[in-house]
């Protein structure tokens, strides 16, 4: 009997199903299809951002920066876990007025290049909160493709390798200005390097002289060995230096804060430890600024 029940049930359920599909077939249309390029889903207006910043920061999509408000502090660059923000910023000249941001902060660094590589960005939003000027934001624009892109002569293969269409560049200055600034910075760096080299030679000379004057047994050690020794001494003895310590791999940097120690060593060989913190700050501050200049140039 269950055999016949089975058949009857099968047929009745099939008819039920057919009724449902026919109902949808003839019913007045309420399609779920969205004709995408012609119509788009409304972007949710829910504010997931911080505080009152509800004009943006709604959904995390294309990252953009208001370059006129950027002070080039690189907080965002440092925050990014995947290093997809690259900033070039140069110190303005002494009589150059770079204006103020909309928050009223005085701009000290001229941002010549602010590059966001959206092909690497993972939309984590970590770069947004650190910004002191609230100028880097996530916009709700999720349509990265445009007809302009299609009109370029790039073949699909090239586009795959060359992600240039997903790299967004912002700059406060024209390309020539940017190049000029770069060249200037390079020249300044080279000049500084030359001065450093001269200082280094002078320092070596001083060491040699000191060795001669003191006539200690250790004078037989080479000058370079002396330098490394003093460096290690500096990082061990001085707690304020570590901020620059990672740069120790750079020979110039090494020399730049080796100098004060040399002078200290020559003036107060063994008991000069108490004097070090006093002599250190001015010089090391200079050196950190040098490094920052270097960094911005490399970036």
């Amino acid at each position: 009997m269950s055999y016949f029940n089975n058949i009857v049930q099968a047929i009745s359920t099939l008819i039920d199903g057919m009724k449902v599909t026919m109902g949808y077939f003839v019913r007045p249309r309420e399609y779920v299809t969205l004709q995408y390029p012609d119509e788009v889903w409304p972007v949710p207006s829910r504010n997931i951002g911080v505080g009152e910043l509800d004009s943006y920061n709604t959904i995390r999509s294309k990252l953009t920066v208001d370059i006129n408000d950027c002070i080039g502090c690189k907080a965002c660059e440092r925050a990014c876990p995947v290093d997809c923000i690259t900033i070039d910023a140069f110190r303005g000249g002494p009589d150059e007025d770079l204006g103020t941001t909309s928050n009223g902060t005085k701009i000290k660094l001229l941002v010549t290049d602010f590059t966001i590589d959206m092909s690497e960005c993972m939309y984590c939003d970590l770069c947004v909160p650190p910004c002191p000027e609230d100028c880097i934001v996530m916009t709700p624009d999720y349509q990265f493709i445009s007809n302009d892109n299609l009109k370029t002569d790039v073949t699909p293969e090239q586009r795959w390798r060359d992600r240039s269409l997903l790299i967004y560049q912002f700059s406060k200055v024209s390309e020539e200005e940017r190049q000029r600034r770069k060249a200037e910075a390079k020249a300044a760096a080279a000049e500084k390097a030359a001065i450093m080299a001269a200082k280094k030679i002078a320092a070596e000379k001083a060491v040699a002289e000191a060795a001669e004057v003191n006539a200690e047994p250790a004078a037989s050690a080479s000058s370079s060995g002396e330098a490394t020794e003093t460096t290690s001494l500096a990082s061990d003895s001085d707690p304020q230096v570590p901020s620059t310590a990672p740069e120790a791999s750079n020979p110039e940097t090494k020399v730049s804060y080796a100098i004060p120690l040399e002078t200290i060593e020559s003036s107060a060989p063994a008991e000069g430890d108490s004097d070090t913190p006093i002599a250190e700050p001015t010089e090391s501050q200079n050196s950190t600024e040098d490094i920052e200049e270097k960094e911005s140039e490399n970036g």
């Binding site: 199903g17 057919m18 399609y31």
Partner: protein, 415 residues
């Protein structure tokens, strides 16, 4: 049709010199080309319609961007398929791989030779027409097994084996159902079968509702047989819900997995050719082929008036039940009815047999097949075999006996 075309060619003075064999060969070529063009265009149109129907049944829109309402979508798809790279897998059996799709296509196209499109449009008037169609269309399974085996791929082979098992199982109930019809007509000639369904009679011989003499209305057993045949034929052409040989969720694409470009297009072509063939067979065998549902001119007028009444009742029902107005069916039937009453020529045309009725019936059956496809879930392999051997086969056997008994009761045959 071939001979009459040849005669027509020879009737021109300039062409008369070519002689009968040449003219016959020429018309054979023309008729074959016509059939092939019909099958190809039919596939293109049906793919579009199928996509639209499926979309509407799933509250989608379907193709919309190529041409108005996406109407050129399948043309674009066909062009794309023609341009595609023709890949033959390295480890495939090259010969079988190449001829497999062609075997399938040829087997499904040549069956149209025996199909009467109308009382005159018939390529070959064979006295074994039904037998020819059924037997040739089973050659398809040979092509499927060829393609599946030659691909040297587990999915393809599974698909081919399932297809073979399925077609062999369903041939039997389908054959037995067809025998029931042949028993009523006493002929295998498809044209004779259609002619036997002309005129109007009572529903199931005794119930006094005047209906066309189609075999669905001949007796309750043949009425059932129509549905059994439709089910079995759906299984034979591997359409959902019986599409286990190419079930996407289990076998990638079954026996078509390794095919691309033109060869893949051939599978598609033959799939829709087969669906059309089934629709043709159902309408020829059970729905009176090219016969009009109205045997006389008054019949057409009265028939459409009744249809209009039914449509009005349907509209009222929908209005009460679903609180909305569906005026399309009423409007259409009202217009046709008015035309039938006002213009006797139109009523006469409605009552006369012809290609229009054939195509209308075929279109309805194809729509039914699509409706099945987008409603029913796919059967499991064991369920498929269960349905074939334990349900459909016994019912079709009982049907065959029932038809014989019915004919003895109504006095159509005497012992």
């Amino acid at each position: 049709m071939i001979q009459s075309l040849a005669n027509w060619i020879l009737s021109f003075d300039i062409l008369a010199g070519m002689g009968n064999p040449v003219a016959w060969g020429l018309s054979l070529f023309v008729v074959s080309a016509l059939i092939f063009v019909f099958v190809a265009l039919n596939a293109i149109v049906l793919v579009y319609i199928e996509r639209k129907v499926s979309a509407f049944m799933q509250v989608r829109l379907g193709p919309m961007r190529v041409g108005k309402f996406g109407s050129l979508q399948t043309v674009a798809d066909a062009l794309k398929l023609l341009q595609k790279e023709d890949i033959i897998p390295q480890m495939a059996d090259k010969i079988l791989f190449v001829i497999g799709p062609w075997v399938i296509l040829v087997a499904s196209v040549v069956t149209f030779a025996a199909i009467p499109f109308s009382d005159t449009l018939l390529a070959a008037n064979m006295n074994i027409g039904l037998f020819y169609v059924v037997s040739i269309s089973s050659i398809v399974v040979l092509g499927i097994v060829m393609a599946g085996w030659a691909s040297n791929n587990k999915w393809s082979l599974y698909g081919a084996m399932r297809s073979a098992a399925q077609i062999i199982s369903y041939e039997i109930p389908v054959g037995i159902t067809l025998i029931a019809v042949v028993a009523v007509v006493g002929s295998l000639n498809l044209q004779t079968i259609v002619i036997a369904q002309g005129g109007t009679g009572n529903l199931f011989h005794w119930i006094p509702i005047p209906l066309p003499n189609w075999f669905v209305f001949h007796d309750p057993f043949l009425f059932l047989a129509a549905f059994i045949y439709l089910t079995g034929a759906t299984a034979e052409i591997n359409r959902t819900p019986f599409d286990i040989p190419e079930s996407e969720s289990e076998l990638v694409a079954g026996f078509m997995t390794e095919f691309s470009g033109l060869r893949w297009a051939l599978f598609f072509l033959s799939e829709y050719a087969n669906a059309t063939l089934v629709a043709f067979l159902v309408s020829i065998i059970f729905l009176g082929g090219w016969q009009s549902p109205f045997s006389t001119y008054g019949g057409a007028q009265v028939g459409f008036s009744i249809l209009t009444l039914l449509a009005i009742m349907w509209t009222v029902f929908v209005k009460i039940k679903a609180k909305r107005l569906s005026i399309f069916p009423v409007g259409l039937s009202l217009v046709i009815t008015l035309c039938a009453w006002l213009f006797p020529g139109f009523a006469l045309w409605l009552a006369s047999p012809g290609l229009f009725w054939m195509l209308l019936k075929v279109a309805s059956i194809i729509f039914l097949l699509m409706w099945f496809r987008w409603t029913f879930p796919r059967l499991r392999v064991d369920q498929l075999m269960y349905v074939s051997w334990k349900v459909i086969l016994p019912i079709s056997l009982i049907n065959l006996m029932g038809v014989a008994v019915w004919m003895w009761l109504t006095g159509e045959i005497q012992f």
